[in-house]
Amino acid sequence: MTIGLNHCLLLAAMLFAIGLYGVLSKRNIIAILMGVELMLNAVNINFVAFNRFTPVSDLTGQLMTVFAITVGVAEVAIGVALAYRIYNDRQTINVDELDNMKG
């Protein structure tokens, strides 16, 4: 059976779910950032797969991936800086303890 669009999309969905699980269930802010990266990669896989397996005539999907990677890198830079900042201020990066916005 030929590998097609659905296979790639299912793979991306699973990777996304794994990343989501990391985001939802981890305590460490760095680990949550990793989860977010996994989710971003899943989205990138989708872009590339759609570009590869659907009847299009240029590389717009791949180009979008380029931008997505750019944004992802920026996000990581900010995220790590935030984590460092929080760690400096509070001596912890446990998100359970970061509930200043509690209603």
């Binding site: 059976m1 590998i3 659905n6 296979h7 790639c8 999309l9 299912l10 793979l11 969905a13 990777l15 794994i18 990343g19 989501l20 699980y21 990391g22 269930s25 981890k26 305590r27 460490n28 802010i29 760095i30 680990a31 950032l33 990793m34 989860g35 990266e37 996994l38 990669n41 990138n44 590339v48 570009n51 590869r52 659907t54 009847p55 240029d58 590389l59 791949q62 180009l63 991936t65 380029v66 931008f67 990677i69 750019t70 890198v73 920026a74 996000e75 990581v76 830079a77 900010i78 995220g79 790590v80 800086a81 984590a83 460092y84 900042r85 760690y87 400096n88 990066i93 998100v95 359970d96």
Partner: protein, 167 residues
């Protein structure tokens, strides 16, 4: 034969991606997680190349398994606790999160399976040339904005990391 090999490569890469991804989430050691994440990114890069997106594959290797991985490791090191290896514990919402995630995966899977897909495809032989042409012609504005965003993000990261009062 070629077809078979291609299929095999996809499944191997897919397995690698999922396994390393699971490893990132499940590992109890944050440094292991970071390493596994790098492996995952490499696998994704291979998948990109398999999907005839060689420029993106290269980008993935360099940016993700290079830059992002290093950034994350730096983060791990900067926020390290004094005692023992950096832990990577779950919180108390572990079970409900599993339920939610499985539900999500099922729904997405159903969507993917039940959606009719038009057949066909597009393979560019020279992705670098094509992407460069698009980026500097049609998509020049998003390109510039992305550049500005990167600059802003870097400045922001520096200011955040420095903290106030340390201009």
């Amino acid at each position: 034969m070629n077809e078979m090999l291609s299929t095999l490569v996809f499944y191997v890469v897919a397995m690698a991606i999922l396994a390393t991804g699971m490893g990132v989430v499940m590992s109890n050691n944050l440094v292991h997680s970071a390493l596994l994440m790098t492996a995952c990114f490499i696998s994704v890069g291979i998948l990109f190349i398999w999907l005839n997106a060689d420029f993106l594959g290269a980008m993935e290797f360099m940016l993700y398994s290079g830059g992002v991985a290093i950034l994350v490791v730096m983060g791990v090191m900067l926020t390290k606790r004094q005692d023992g290896p950096p832990g990577n514990p779950f919180n108390h919402r572990k079970i409900s999160a599993i339920g939610l995630v499985v539900l999500f995966a099922l729904v997405m899977g159903t969507v993917i399976v039940s959606t009719p897909v038009s057949s066909g495809g597009y393979i560019s032989l020279d992705t670098v040339d094509a992407l460069a042409g698009m980026m500097l012609n049609t998509y020049i504005l998003p390109f510039e904005i992305a550049a500005t965003l990167l600059l802003a993000a870097l400045l922001g990261a520096i200011i955040l990391a420095k903290g106030d009062g340390e201009a």
